[in-house]
């Protein structure tokens, strides 16, 4: 299936797969199309797959006791998204994962992945490496939240991920960076800068 190639190519950046391995792996992948505003993960339901974004944009977020939304992650083309905690422990999710645009995904089911990790040990290495990188990323983000002001975090995000910033609603960006939409508005319109 040509449509499933992007995931094979993604994995091939980290480990070398034989043609047989590629074919075997491909048999487990599924293409899914979702419409804007549709959820692929919802609180209370166990997250059954990880999703690679072929086309579109997604947002993973938590709704707190006061009804406020807090964005944990975004994903656009060539990124993965899921409720990671729900997926690895196979526990009910706490996050919503919602399509911000009409999108196309390639999905891997949890059980299938457990199976081919046994069959193709090379994929353990792939999993280890991308998980390590994701962990390093999250540690940096934690430190960034601890050390930087709202405006500094905004500037940092804009310089690193302007492609994402341009595609997601402003309230989603604010809730990712950890402040209110009103404050983001102020930052954007220069009410806080010193010249």
């Amino acid at each position: 299936m040509k449509d499933l190639l992007p995931v094979i190519n993604y994995i091939s950046r980290y480990v070398d797969l034989t043609d047989d391995e590629k074919n075997h792996l491909t048999s487990f992948l599924k293409i899914t199309k979702v419409k804007k505003r549709q959820f692929i993960v919802q609180p209370g339901f166990v997250c059954k797959h990880k999703s690679y974004v072929v086309k579109g944009a997604f947002r993973g977020y938590l709704v707190d006791n006061n009804g406020k939304e807090h964005t944990l992650s975004f994903a656009i083309e060539d990124w993965w998204i899921s409720d990671y905690s729900s997926l690895i422990y196979q526990e009910p999710a706490t996050l919503f994962v919602e399509a911000l645009e009409d999108s196309v995904l390639i999905q891997i089911e949890y059980e299938d992945e457990q199976q081919f990790l046994k069959e193709i040990p090379k994929l353990e290495k792939f999993e280890r490496i991308i998980t390590q990188r994701s962990l390093a990323f999250h540690q940096k983000r934690l430190l960034s939240n601890l050390t930087k002001t709202a405006e500094e975090r905004y500037d940092e995000f804009m310089s690193k991920y302007s492609a994402i910033a341009q595609r997601v609603p402003q309230y989603a960006l604010a809730s990712y960076l950890g402040f209110s939409t009103e404050y983001l508005s102020k930052i954007r319109n220069g009410k806080t800068s010193k010249s």
Copy 2:
């Protein structure tokens, strides 16, 4: 070496190792003793090992441009610590990792680990699993910082990690939870509670 058994036992919680594998692995482990206030990682130097705490307590922290300290992680007995980002990318560290007490460590060198990951593929699975769990932990912490007040984060930490709270200085705990020591003092002495 009997002293190195704790790490073998730790790994054996996640994967089954043969006696040969255990022996081979043991040959790469090194015991290190460090005194209180000693650093095992410093900014500017590439982090060359991950450390398992046999005895003692550690703290990993960043010093920002204003000289303020921000704690990323603690480690007591049966935990691991390092500058993870520096370790996996073999880049200069940004963190200090400092002993809070006289301590004993079992260390694994970066190159040695790369080698035995090739020799014993089972260890890839071990690495994957603990990295996944650490990632899930950091995601939860990130969400906790986004959704909860200082006092709620304090209460949460005390109920989950009172063993750590009792052993680390208060300024270290405050800087982990993301607020000032003065505010921690207020929380502890009930100046903020509603009755």
